[in-house]
Assembly symmetry: C2
Homo-oligomer: 384 residues x 2
């Protein structure tokens, strides 16, 4: 058994954003020594890690040399140099999730093929190597409007995803490799956080539900537990576990899914790391997703995934029309409400729709939490 605690053991994290920052609360709690690599000198992880290094996550040499310094390497963002991970593994370095898993997930075309090969239910799709091929596919009736366009590379936080309903929508797309996916008519968008360690121990968190704004069609609330039939929830959990096992994933995996009008569950996509849909766990769960990720990649026993109370997460994004030094207007008003915890990611500058933080609302009664969440949403403003 390696001695991780207050020892010379070194954990490396590729990426120094808010996910890394929240992971560092738990490496600190365990006094595990950390090294973080991020391109920005203003990265939220710069403090609280033991050693911060500025560098390009897509550069082979940078990632390889960083990886050589540590005992176990993980990442908090998928867009990292894969070849460096492959080489590090060849040299015996522990990289979790593995390069093999990441390779299948980094490219959304490969990810979809993987679901097909492994009989994991997912929306029908066609892959196109560039925009000309995509246009040809429409002309030839291989695909029909409307459809969901996804760039196969580099998508993040809804970027690289569009619903294409018209020629005008199509005209706006960049010229990249992409997939065109059947537009699913869904009742609910759900997610399950699965955690798995190298020994094969596996646990799932309760199903969460993304509640959309009725007009804006934007996710407003992530709600745990999802207000759905327990049989549907069970189905979602079984599929999520299957996905984690098929990927031989190690660490926290967020599996995003659709519940169709026919109550089928279709896997939309996965994130091989702690995820926005699991942020509620910091306050609501026996073990939060960040601690759980650390337990998993160090092959420690996994923690309990049950909830202590109901939890709802609201993202804090920069308000339209505001760019500059951030002000969290009315934050003291939401702090008066029961069970409300703001999380500020530490970005000094706001801009429209920039993810600046999130707020968790917990309550023994999820319907009460939902009411408070709405008040939170209507009260706090991220302005400049």
């Amino acid at each position: 058994m390696t001695n991780f605690f207050s020892s010379n053991f070194k954990l490396g994290i590729l990426g120094g954003g808010q996910l890394g920052k929240m992971m560092l609360y738990d490496t600190r709690k365990y006094d595990i020594q950390t090294y973080v690599l991020d391109p920005s000198q203003d990265a939220p992880c710069k403090i609280a890690c033991d050693h911060f290094q500025q560098g390009n996550l897509m550069d082979y040499e940078t990632v390889y040399n960083f990886g050589k310094k540590v005992d176990v390497l993980t990442f908090e963002i998928e867009t990292v140099n894969l070849e460096a991970l492959v080489q590090l593994e060849k040299e015996g370095k522990k990289v979790y999730p593995s390069s093999k898993t990441l390779e299948k997930i980094q490219n959304k075309g490969e990810q979809k093929l993987f679901y097909e090969e492994n009989k994991i239910p997912t929306a029908a799709f066609t892959r196109f190597s560039n925009k000309a091929h995509l246009t040809e596919g429409i002309t030839n009736n291989r695909i029909k409007l409307p459809f969901v366009w996804k760039s196969t590379q580099g998508g993040y936080d809804g970027k690289g995803v569009s619903i294409i309903r018209s020629g005008a929508d199509l005209a706006k797309l960049p010229d990249t490799e992409c997939i065109a996916e059947h537009l699913v008519d869904f009742k609910n968008e759900l997610a399950v956080i699965v955690v798995r360690n190298p020994s094969g121990e596996i646990k799932t968190y309760p199903v969460v539900e993304m509640e959309f704004h009725p007009e804006a069609n934007q996710v407003e609330y992530v709600i745990c537990p999802a207000r759905i039939d327990s049989k549907i929830a069970q189905k979602a959990v079984i599929i999520a576990e299957k996905v984690s096992k098929a990927f031989e994933h190690v660490g926290v995996l967020a599996v995003e899914m659709f519940q169709t009008q026919e109550d089928d569950i279709l896997v939309n996509e996965v994130a091989p790391r702690p995820h926005n849909s699991g942020h509620y766990s910091i306050e609501a769960s026996y073990t939060n997703q960040f601690e759980q990720h650390i337990r998993a990649i160090l092959d420690l026993p996994l923690g309990a995934t049950e909830s202590k109370v109901g939890g709802i997460m609201v993202n804090l994004v920069g308000k339209e029309g505001h760019t500059g030094d951030v002000i969290y207007k009315n934050i003291e008003e939401i702090m008066k409400m029961k069970g409300v915890t703001p999380h500020i990611y530490g970005k000094k500058q706001t801009r429209p729709y920039r993810k600046m933080g999130h707020v968790t609302i917990i309550h023994e009664n999820i319907d009460e939490a939902r009411k408070i969440a709405e008040k939170v949403k209507n009260t706090i403003q991220v302005i400049s």
Copy 2:
């Protein structure tokens, strides 16, 4: 309203030990800029604060100059230079808890007199300016054996406190100002965390109970909620609130109390800061004591103090006979148990009885938590 979040606001913390370290999880969560002063370059707070300074907490110039740099000053240890705080306040600096409050608490003789003056129930006592006076007091029958001896200055973690039953016990005492206190025959040792902000908002946490080892007479478990009659609990809460108000305390105040055989509540002593008896709150409470302290000293609204689940805290202290690089033996065994979270303070070297960390056990059922806590206690060992 001051803008504390991702701003130029500066919070100063005197002391950089484990209490400060745990406070920094929450300053990080809120992205509040922190300055920490501690004598040791190996202080647990050295990472995760924005600016660390090595320096003597009892030195006037050091504390004064440090305080000048920040907007609000607090402390995580009571043994700090009081005159520097007085001067900083005179110059308009916000110091919480205030120098006036700290002055009454720093000297245990003053603290006891304060309870008498404010009609707060406490054990009878006599104050002695040195050891010769104390011996004289015994000879003159002003006090009788057995009694509790407490050094008026610098006591910490049970140091500076002895039960004097014989002349031999007396002989071992150092020559300091002290009090001799009536030895209370208590049923239970209880504590209540009270939090109060400068606006006068006040909240209390549920009463916790210290469970003692039947033979060793050492606190083994801090249990929340205390397994006592609700009327006794109510009495303890009322007294704790009275203490906080009498001190005009700002921040978290831990009030330690005895429940006598006659079910009277006597105040033993207070700690004007987050305290060991409130560590359970990190996992078990709606708002943990560290976040609560920060809310209070910044005059933000206080958070809910209710528990989400039952919580028990076990201290992790260095095993007898072990000095050197620390190893947390069987830590992976306790991590298998439901609702168990180890907290490692980050001290690289263990020595007998050194406080190295703590473990929290949470469970919806406090009796289940108690069973798991005993397994934890019997499993993990802090060795070298």
